[in-house]
């Protein structure tokens, strides 16, 4: 091969190699995704008045049109916030000052939102209806004989409404049908006046108490004052007659959350004089008497003392997961994901940095993700609503 031909081949080889290298560099890199607005976001709903204080209560997804958030405002006044699927503000409304104490239990039915609050003069439970068209809350129904509403939940054929009767010193459970009409009512004696604790809870000037209710097959359960203490009651779904109880001790030791799994199995959490325990799967005797502090569980010292816990069974990529949301001593939201079948811990996820964040609620979203509702203190001082939307990919990373 002549020198000339060799040199030309060398030049040609260099040219072609370089072009190929350059082309490969360009086409092989930079395939990262652009932002998909509704798959993942973090929003803080800010109000520039520093005397304003928002404490969220509950959230519901409104189909594919975003979310509806129920919140307390300036202690126990009622505030509603509507955001779109990207978490951006749509509209909000502050109810009149006489409608106070919004309670957990938010429902989306026939393109309208429903929730319970209380009239501050009569103390009567009031059902509110909200629509995107009205952008306000209208009184749908008033329950004059139900005072101090504490919690509501949805069951197969209607709703449960838990309240406190100051006249009879009793916890009251009311079964409502799908149209919010009363089906039956039953009371469970507390044996002492706990109105002061109830008022401290409702006005948020004292300890927040773990009121909740739900369905377990052909029974209902509720957590409330009974027999001097915060206790978990089991009642017949047909008429509310009590079948069993897990007693707490005053408001120092109690069940903090419960979700029915199957058979006699429940996913629980409890606190005991500041310590917290998560019990992802346990069989309970719903026809007898037990004590909450006897229930074995994993202690979680990272949780706030007597922490508020919210739990739900959700589907993560085809796997049933018991998800717990709570708050840590370090001021973060903490999610625990347990396998709902065998109770093993699948993963955990922390949310929130530098400034305090508290877990309030979460909802599994239509796109396979998770929307976590929280309370944050902006700059360490201003109480605001925060909504953290995890994408399906982020959820699967720690919960599957």
């Amino acid at each position: 091969m002549s020198h000339c031909n060799y040199r030309k081949m060398k030049i040609s080889a260099i040219h072609i190699s370089f072009v190929l290298l350059l082309t490969l560099s360009i086409v092989s890199c930079g395939n990262e995704e652009d932002f998909i607005p509704d798959s993942s976001f973090i929003k803080i709903y800010n109000d520039e008045f520093f005397e304003s204080s928002y404490i969220p209560m509950d959230i519901v997804q409104a189909g594919n049109t975003g979310y509806f958030i129920l919140s307390a405002y300036d202690a126990w006044n009622t505030y509603i916030l509507r955001v779109d699927e990207d978490g951006e503000y749509m509209w909000d409304y502050k109810l009149e000052d006489n409608y106070v104490n919004p309670i957990k239990g938010l429902y989306y039915k026939d393109s309208a939102f429903y929730f319970f609050c209380m009239d501050d003069l009569s103390l009567a439970a009031t059902l509110m209806k909200v629509t995107d068209q009205s952008k306000t809350a209208q009184v749908e129904r008033t329950y004059g004989n139900i005072i101090y509403p504490l919690h509501s939940s949805a069951v197969d054929d209607g709703f449960l409404l838990e309240s406190y009767n100051r006249e009879s010193y009793s916890t009251r459970l009311t079964k409502l049908n799908n149209d919010f009409g009363i089906v039956w009512e039953e009371e469970y004696e507390v044996e002492q006046d706990v109105e002061e604790s109830i008022i401290s809870h409702l006005t948020r000037i004292g300890n927040r108490l773990p009121f909740f209710s739900g369905q377990a097959g052909n029974k209902y359960f509720l957590n409330g004052y009974y027999n001097y203490s915060m206790s978990m009651l089991f009642v017949n779904a047909s008429d509310g007659t009590q079948t069993g109880v897990i007693n707490g001790f005053r408001d120092k030791s109690a069940i903090s959350s419960a979700k029915y799994l199957d058979g006699n199995s429940y996913a629980l959490s409890r606190f005991d004089f500041g310590e917290n325990f998560i019990i992802p799967k346990i069989d309970l005797n719903t026809s007898g008497t037990g004590i909450s502090s006897d229930l074995e569980g994993n202690e979680h010292p990272e949780m706030m003392p007597n922490a508020f816990v919210y739990s739900q069974i959700i589907d993560v990529n085809g796997r049933e997961i018991t998800m717990y949301a709570t708050s840590t001593k370090g001021g973060q939201i903490l999610l625990y994901a347990y396998d709902a079948i065998n109770g093993t811990l699948v993963g955990t996820h922390h949310l929130g940095r530098l400034n305090p964040y508290e877990a309030i609620d979460f909802v599994a979203t239509n796109d396979g993700g998770l929307a976590v509702l929280g309370n944050t203190f902006v700059n360490g001082r201003f109480s605001r609503i925060t909504l953290i939307k995890l994408s399906e990919k982020e959820l699967i990373e720690f919960a599957n």
Partner: protein
């Protein structure tokens, strides 16, 4: 689409003057001189370095805050500082002069880009606005890239002093990225003005920045013959075509998002670079009679 077009231009530009594809050159051997024959094939290599200034062009703005009724938006938007923070770059220059005065240049370099923006948020007493709390954020982004610019350069003179113009494209590979946040606050609601919440953060954002960047480049410069080398100075402007934010990671929680309340915008990067260079002819001569300079 933009990427494909850029690749096509680069391939076309680089292959077009290739002597391996030229026809009928095999038996033509003529002495090459500086002022003589235009059929010159000469490689040049050298080193270059300098400073650069960057500007982020926002394509879409994002914020962690969504304001409810009664809030004013006003001051709460990011204010970008243009071409203020200097970065450095250094690397090599590889040129192939295929026609006298016309050359293809590859300028691989390691480059540091810097830009910053400010943001502030305030809260005030609804009945006395002079009572307020203000928090200010200064956020600087530093991006380190391996740059691969490819240009065609045209010299405007045949003398020892050679001004030129050049244009082409570039591709960059990200090697490091950090954000430095400086948070200060003023509390005017506690009796007197006092500074609060002074915090500095430095957070790696390599996973939140796209690995590749590309764009077009153009500039002017000159070289001057000194001995067997040429020294030069050039100014180039780069126009970025790529949104550098890794969208999937935009709201993934970290110290920046929920701590410093900073969510990155979609942006592209423009850059003004000033460079010095020294280049020498590679002894890749085509004739024993070749006189390089």
């Amino acid at each position: 689409m933009k990427k494909t077009a850029l690749v096509g231009v680069m391939i076309l530009a680089f292959l077009w003057p290739s002597p391996s594809l030229a026809q009928g050159n095999q038996n033509k051997r003529k002495p090459k001189t500086v002022t003589g024959n235009s059929d010159i094939n000469q490689w040049w290599i050298g080193v270059r370095g300098g400073i650069n200034f960057s500007n982020a062009t926002v394509q879409k703005s994002y914020s962690i805050y969504s304001y409810v009724q009664d809030a004013t938006i006003g001051d709460n938007e990011k204010k970008y500082n243009s071409f203020t923070l200097p970065g450095l770059h250094f690397g090599f220059s590889v040129s192939y002069e295929f026609i006298r005065g016309l050359s293809i240049n590859v300028l691989p370099s390691y480059t540091s880009y810097r830009f910053a923006y400010d943001n502030s948020f305030r809260w005030y007493d609804s009945e006395a606005q002079s009572k307020r709390v203000t928090t200010n954020y200064t956020i600087e982004t530093r991006l380190q890239y391996i740059d691969l610019p490819l240009t065609i350069k045209y010299e405007l003179s045949r003398s020892s002093f050679k001004p030129y113009i050049q244009a082409g494209g570039y591709y960059s590979l990200l090697t490091d990225a950090i954000k430095k946040v400086n948070i200060t606050g003023i509390d005017q609601a506690s009796g007197s003005d006092s500074e609060i919440n002074v915090t500095e953060l430095s957070v790696g954002i390599e996973d939140r920045t796209k690995k590749g960047n590309y764009g077009i480049i153009g500039g002017v410069g000159f070289t001057y013959n000194m001995g067997n080398a040429r020294v030069g100075f050039e100014i180039n402007y780069r126009y970025g075509l790529q949104n550098l934010d890794h969208g999937e990671m935009k709201y993934v929680d970290n110290q920046l998002v929920t701590g410093a309340y900073d969510v990155p915008d979609d942006y592209s990067l423009n850059n003004l670079e000033l460079s010095m260079q020294v280049i020498i002819p590679l002894k890749f001569i085509t004739s024993k009679d070749y006189v390089p300079l």
